[in-house]
Symmetry: C2
Subunit: 350 residues, 2 copies
Amino acid sequence: MKRITLADGTGGEKMMKLIKQYVLKNLNSNAKNIDVGLSDLDDSAVVNGIVFTTDSHTVKPLFFPGGDIGSLAVAGTVNDIAVMGVSPCALSSAFVIEEGFPVDDYEKILLSMKKTSKYAGVPIVTGDTKVVEKNVVEKIIINTSGIGMRSRTLDENIKEVKRYRRFDEKWIKDSNLRDGDKIIVSGSVGNHGIAVLSFREGYGYESEIKSDIKPLNKMIEKILKVGGVVSMKDPTRGGLANTLNEFAEKSKTGIMVDEEKIPIKEGVKSACEMLGIDPLEIGNEGKVVIGVVREKAEEVLKALRKTEEGKNAEIIGEATKNVNGVVMKTVVGGRRIVETPIGDPVPRIC
Amino acid sequence: MKRITLADGTGGEKMMKLIKQYVLKNLNSNAKNIDVGLSDLDDSAVVNGIVFTTDSHTVKPLFFPGGDIGSLAVAGTVNDIAVMGVSPCALSSAFVIEEGFPVDDYEKILLSMKKTSKYAGVPIVTGDTKVVEKNVVEKIIINTSGIGMRSRTLDENIKEVKRYRRFDEKWIKDSNLRDGDKIIVSGSVGNHGIAVLSFREGYGYESEIKSDIKPLNKMIEKILKVGGVVSMKDPTRGGLANTLNEFAEKSKTGIMVDEEKIPIKEGVKSACEMLGIDPLEIGNEGKVVIGVVREKAEEVLKALRKTEEGKNAEIIGEATKNVNGVVMKTVVGGRRIVETPIGDPVPRIC
């Protein structure tokens, strides 16, 4: 009998295969009111002009340096909406709780959700609570779904794109990159995954490295006001490597990035070296990768760096027909292909 | 240390207490763009005019007579939106799957979701897939969230209400019942809970009793076209007893129902007698309880009975100031108070 394996659910190549083979085959719809649907495999869907997304959170442990399952659930869903270029307007939260779960921890999680929701300015408006017997779930699972609506900021951002090149899209999508667009990352990568992993396994890096969990909707609003943004994605499961490959594949363009420019903290670097993990494959929860028309790249970078969340932003590369897939110019002057992660080097971080 | 118990998650009085004490205290928002929010404790929220709801499904077993976790997840969320009086327009689905789950069962569930989604005419537009280690979840958990939008049918239904009495509400809510409104149930109660329980425990009633899982949006559309509907709720966890008490409490009115009129199948009756369960406390997945202005009750009933899902509909009682809470005229001529279930007589049915 064929069985689902851990690798099938990691955000990498194997998961894409599972989703294409089973989920899309059965559930995809081409209804006319769906602007962005299942088969776009983007961060959110767009139906009747409403941006709509969902995520179930199974992070282990529940509390870790820099965050917990509550802040993760709220920020993760806010960010999946915000990267579509729209304002998140409401969240749902559905809890599945194991019988015997400490009420104190439950309240700590709710407080953290409250705080994160206030910071983002996005209320939780509906919910569901199920309590199940021992061992039916490990402690607690939280699903957050969310909706967002188009604002004038997005229209103005697109108008600005059109000043520089042809652009027929209504939404910020992974597939919108074109030759010459610049790629920006809003800050250092790898922090979240390493913080959770190190804390869980007792490696000791967590004194130095904390999760970057943060709702990014306000930061994103600021860069959309500058204009020229065509694609955005938060590099969660599968990390920067996965995001760049999704951009390249869906946009049918190559991407060239410069290793020297990719911000990675020293602590993350040494943890990755010790553990034999590629920092580009590690999930983040407070970063965004941005595709922007060349002419606006410096201006967007400047706006990002003025924000707390984006102060370490860098232009790391560009879309180019000169390469196939994602290629990185290494620090020592060579070139290496950045592949879509097959599995997940750091499981259960979201 | 205080711990969460099974009874805290059952849809009854204890769950309401947990939600009020912890969820509402931390997460409730009074933002102006929220027409129906967390504190309304209704089936869905309404924010910026969009109806939004969520449910996580932990039913055991995954496959049972009349349905499975897939049809349940789709129909349940469609119904939570439809009972707000609006058209469901899209669903999300988020899977948490235990490593080793058979691919055949996974595909069977997806096929069932596809079939139910097609029947309802509501596409699944966005999703999430997480695979976790053995024993982190029992087999599979599915969250479905959904959105719906106001249609002219709802406006016309409300116009019809206003022909007969004062009505200042924009939405179909649990709190809209007034003295004299009639209560209709769309068919026999208790089938879903008894079918799942009996199959799970091997009681043998499932040959006779099948789950009533069904998306009700098309049936509801038909009765809204008749007009005069003020409140609707699908009596899932906590059953008819819970729904009637929620109506009464939120609407600040008494409700009087007639036992003789409540449709219950013989097989459900005998199972309930043997198991010592009140059929009014058992969850349903294809029924709706409707509050309608007196003058339109017969017409709504007639429209219901013309549909396959509503062919056994009955007017079971009315809202009345003459009683406190929910009171039932029994078959033998007495009166008994129908209380909000404290716990859940049949756990893990949704």
